[in-house]
Symmetry: C2
DNA sequence: TCTGCACCCTGTAGTCACTTCAGGGTCAAG
DNA sequence: CTTGACCCTGAAGTGACTACAGGGTGCAGA
């Protein structure tokens, strides 16, 4: 599970370094998000530092809630260093407002559920407020 | 799109009444969440009030963030009116803590993204802080 | 009566981001 | 020389729908 002496990473090493599952790394390669690495004599993948950097970027962006398609776009942009970064900025802003929407939805939902719970007096299901609140005819 | 004079609902009427897509209603039927309705002479589905009630329950629970499998369980419970409702209560509590977890994850994420945005000075991609923060070698 | 249109039917495949599985091959340690 | 950890491929499964192809039904207007 460590970097080989030739400076290449096995898929397991790469996965461990980026907190990714091995299958997920192969998946990213399959969908063309990660370039195909070279192979060893025994047909094992031999990833480079570049693969590591790219995979780190992908995972970090995923953690920030970007979709794989957004990440594909970001990776495309990141290669064009002379263009201005307004596009990247706009994507980040869009991401933030999506997050704000999700948070307020979740808060509303939480309020509703805890109101329901507050009314629950541990009786039988026949007079359970939670079931009752979900059913339309009550 | 209205309730027929025999008191049955077409799939479109049922969908509209519960703010569901027609395909989703058929999907719920296919996976056994909604019982198979009767059919008209022309092989159209003819849903009853019971279908409407059950579908309302499903949609409402979905809106509250329950999974279809949890809903299947809730529907099973709702039919056993003499049992005590501690199970239902526990499911609601579990749901609330899952929501709390999601909210705090999203808040952390939001903070991180807006820190990034705050540093963005609309230069070229080469010195874009967002791209930079995602890349490992900076 | 014909025609057009909105609605309905079935079955299949696509979505997203993975995960799991079956059925093998490779490699280093003991 | 065998054991066990790791690796390989290709296909299928997950959740909760959504979309599409290729039809049939029902009703209003011309």
């Amino acid at each position: 599970m460590s970097k080989g002496e030739t400076g290449s990473y096995s898929i397991g090493a790469l996965a461990e370094a980026t907190d990714t599952k091995v299958e997920t790394v192969r998946y990213y390669e399959r969908i063309g998000l990660l370039p195909e690495p070279g192979r060893t004599a025994g047909n094992y993948r031999a990833h480079t530092e570049d693969h590591l950097a790219r995979l780190s970027f992908i995972r970090r962006a995923r953690d920030l809630g970007f979709t794989l398609e957004q990440i594909r776009a970001l990776l495309g942009l990141a290669d064009q260093k002379d263009k201005d970064c307004r596009v990247v900025d706009a994507m980040a802003r869009g991401q933030i407002s999506a997050i704000d929407r999700k948070i307020s939805d979740l808060r509303a939902l939480r309020r509703e559920l805890s109101d329901l719970l507050g009314q629950c007096r541990q009786g039988t299901i026949a007079d359970c407020r939670i079931i009752g609140a979900l059913s339309p005819c009550e």
